[in-house]
């Protein structure tokens, strides 16, 4: 029964997305393939940040340092690509992301300090690291990297950016979900004591979840660098945005429930809303207000519905 509810949520998000796309087309008849393409491109860093956050939240934790880790990866990309070839640079950045995530996880497990506090502290640490790598925006990224996320593939309305994130999720997360590691991640988020008694090693599983988050943040940082062409050491607004998208995507903050597809759809929903408002010539500051209201509203409704469901 809960399986159906989970799918129902994701399906309604997809429907909402379709409706919003249609709305955009109505308001701006000229909105077409290129519009979708730039939308997807802009959404890419948000999508990766959200995916990383979702994994950690499913595992029952939270990672407040996602934006800082993305910044580190972005500047590393920019700095490396000035000096060495493309593919090794990408691999180094991905490894860096995994390392940072793993460090977060290890600190949480070994110090027994709550995850909010550890990742709050690491938010500063990673931000500092980013500044040390590049004290002000600079560096440069390879053209081919910028090219990977630009334009569309196969169909004119299927942006490469969307394909990239879909592929990453399909290759990394989908197979993982059915494995013991994936189940363990859900398990420790659902009931840590029961997980321990079922024979799951809590510590390594937690570290793995945070490492996966770091990996997604690395992809996020790469996409950031590809978007802007340079590296910026200052973390962007990805923390709040990713939490909002995760919640909107049907992942429960307590952990154990949800997937990554919902949050991804939620990211696109939120970005489309922003596009819609811009097209309607709304003041960008008002857009911030609207985004905040939506986030709060969605969470309120979502929470109220969940409570109704448990009040059998």
């Amino acid at each position: 029964m809960t399986q159906m509810k989970k799918h129902a949520w994701v399906i309604s998000l997809a429907v909402l997305l379709a409706v919003l796309l249609a709305l955009t087309k109505i308001i701006q008849p000229g909105f077409g393939a290129s519009g979708i393409e730039s939308l997807a491109r802009a959404a890419l860093p948000f999508g990766f940040a959200t995916s990383g956050m979702a994994v950690v939240i499913i595992a029952g934790g939270i990672d407040l340092s996602v934006a800082s880790m993305m910044a580190v990866c972005a500047v590393t990309t920019a700095v490396l690509m000035e000096r060495i070839a493309g593919v090794p640079a990408v691999i180094i950045v991905l490894l860096a992301g995994v390392a940072m995530g793993a460090i977060n996880g290890l600190l949480i497990v070994l110090t027994k300090v709550p995850d909010i506090v550890v990742t709050l502290a690491m938010l500063f640490v990673w931000e500092g690291v980013a500044l040390l790598i590049l004290s002000s925006p600079g560096g440069s990224t390879a053209d081919w990297l910028q090219g990977t996320i630009r334009g569309s593939l196969i169909f004119s309305w299927l942006p490469k950016a969307f394909l990239i994130i879909a592929m990453v999720l399909a290759l990394l997360w989908w197979p993982l979900q059915r494995t013991k590691l994936g189940l363990s991640i859900y398990a420790i988020g659902s009931d840590e004591l029961a997980a321990f008694r079922s024979g799951i090693s809590i510590g390594p599983t937690k570290v793995a979840a945070y490492a996966i988050c770091g990996l997604f943040c690395a992809f996020g940082g790469l996409s950031l660098a590809a978007l802007t062409g340079i590296g910026e050491p200052v973390p962007g607004p990805y923390l709040m945005a990713s939490i909002a998208a995760v919640v909107l995507g049907g992942v429960v903050l307590g952990g154990g429930k949800g997937g990554l597809l919902g949050p991804l759809l939620a990211v696109f929903v939120l970005r489309i809303i922003r596009t819609l408002l811009t097209l309607m010539a709304v003041d960008p500051n008002v857009t911030t207000i609207v985004e905040g209201v939506i986030m709060v509203g969605v969470v309120m409704i979502g929470t109220a519905l969940t409570l109704k469901g448990t009040r059998k």
Partner: protein, 490 residues
């Protein structure tokens, strides 16, 4: 080869700092033997169990499983050494389905399904979500999983605590069968009837020390209690059923109370000065009834009157305002584990907005001290309530309302999982409250308690009241038949 005991723990001691939780515990388990591990709360049972399952390292002594020194630190390692425990709380992941849980635990699926069926649960689907299944089913699944691991030693901790009678029978039968086939079983329970049915011997712990190893034979209850308490004491004085004051206006009157789907139609009168017992098999609507009366959930139909005025509760504070106070069955629901005993007891004093201001310290101190004395709560462990033993914790939940003042008291299974010593203190207290004019409604899953504490007993089956029995007629057989709905006239 069968001369080597399956489990041999001797000289086991465990210190937590200055506290000596165990001084000399021992237990010997042979092939095919079922041993009951007994002891009052605070005797060291849970510490001993943790050492046996490898969750704790002993300060001294040793534990041999099949002749080999066993020092394990995780469930996986314990399983490899042949000892599989079934804990009191379900060990299944709520947000995953059965199949995923089996994958995680490396449990062979078909073996598991066979055990589940043998234990009496039909229609279990592998795709069922754990969070959708009732507690009794989860306990059976835990047992099935343990049996599927083919343990040499099975450790059952309060296995039957949440099970309806039919499942209890299945469990006992299955465990006995496995024991006859050579499995060793350590059985922890407070229920003498089950111990007599199932076990061959009993090992009794008291104050961290094994004080006796008794064969199970008629009369073992008294001797076991004697060993646990350290002196020859009876379970309690049989209440001689004072003529009840069922005249006048009832303090609480229920008419047709329902809370769909479990509770359909309950009507009764509760008078000041009486203790009305409630007996029911698991899940017959008694949880819903108490939630209704306490103001936790609103009824779907029916009326409740307090002192002849109709009452409708939206929140426990409404019920409290009408004098109805509730001690829930699960201690964890009622206690602020990190706070002190005093803060826990004084909690209701600050509940309403009008009381949010400065605390009346002296009044509070007096009321709290009164309650602590009345219940003989052991406050030696200064500091957090979570440092107290289970029995003392239960006393704190009751003390809260003693301090505030009791008019109508709802007790849900107050002695579940409590040691004998504390039980003996609670029954006379309940009677005393009634004698002082309170009305008490007490649900208990231990039928022998009814004559000890109650004046009358209400039996609920299938969401309805099927019988109302006077205490003097309330022997276990009568109560059991009624609980099964056998006295209901078609």
């Amino acid at each position: 080869m069968s001369d080597i005991p399956l489990l041999d723990a001797s000289g086991v001691a465990k210190n937590f700092g200055a506290v000596k939780a165990l001084t000399d515990a021992k237990l010997t388990l042979s092939k095919g033997q079922v041993i009951a591990l007994m002891g009052a709360n605070g005797a060291g049972k849970s510490t001993f169990v943790k050492i046996l399952t490898g969750a704790l390292k002993p300060t001294a002594g040793r534990v041999l499983i099949r002749g080999q020194e066993a020092r394990v630190g995780s469930p996986a390692e314990a399983q490899r050494s042949g000892l599989v425990p079934v804990y009191q709380e379900p060990s299944l992941i709520p947000d995953l389905n059965v199949a995923d849980n089996l994958t995680l635990g490396n449990t062979p699926v078909q073996t598991f399904r066979n055990w589940v069926e043998e234990l009496g649960i039909e229609s279990l689907k592998l795709t069922d979500m754990i969070s959708d299944l009732p507690l009794a089913t989860l306990r059976i699944l835990d047992l099935a999983r343990a049996l599927a691991a083919q343990p040499d030693v099975l450790l059952l901790d309060e296995m039957t605590a949440a099970l309806p009678t039919d499942l209890v029978d299945n469990v006992l039968k299955t465990v006995r069968k496995q024991a006859d086939a050579g499995m060793g079983v350590i059985y922890i329970s407070h229920r003498f009837t089950e111990i007599s049915d199932l076990c061959d011997n009993a090992t009794v712990l008291r104050d961290g020390c094994t004080v006796g190893e008794l064969p199970i034979e008629p009369g073992v209850e008294d001797r076991a209690v004697e060993l646990m308490l350290g002196a020859k004491l009876a379970l309690g004085k049989r209440h001689t059923g004072v003529a009840l004051r069922s005249e006048g206006t009832p303090q609480l009157a229920a008419r047709g109370l329902a809370s769909a789907p479990k509770l359909s139609d309950v009507s009764f009168d509760l008078f000041a000065g009486e203790v009305l017992g409630v007996v029911a098999l698991e899940g017959q609507g008694q949880d819903e009834l108490f939630d209704l009366l306490a103001g936790i959930t609103p009824p779907t139909s029916g009326t409740l009157s307090v002192d002849s005025t109709v009452a409708s509760f939206n929140h426990p504070s409404d019920a409290i305002a009408r004098g109805i106070t509730y001690v829930p069955g699960n201690r964890a629901d009622a206690l602020l584990l990190q706070r002190s005993v005093r803060e826990n007891i004084a909690l209701p004093f600050a509940a309403r907005v009008g009381d949010w201001g400065p605390l009346n310290r002296s009044m509070e101190r007096d009321r709290v001290n009164y309650a602590i004395e009345k219940l003989q709560i052991d406050t030696r462990a200064q500091g957090e309530v979570q440092r107290l033993s289970g029995g003392n914790q239960q006393k704190v939940t009751i003390a809260r309302w003693i301090a505030k003042g009791v008019k109508t008291l709802l007790l849900f299974d107050p002695t579940r999982g409590i040691d004998v010593r504390t039980k003996r203190q609670i029954y006379p207290l309940v009677r005393e409250l009634a004698e002082q004019g309170a009305a008490v409604l007490m649900y208990t899953s231990e039928l022998e308690e009814i004559p000890l504490a109650c004046d009358r007993c209400m039996v609920i089956f299938n969401g309805r009241v099927v019988d109302m029995i006077d205490a003097k007629d309330a022997d276990e057989q009568t109560l059991m038949r009624a609980a099964y709905g056998l006295t209901e006239v078609a």
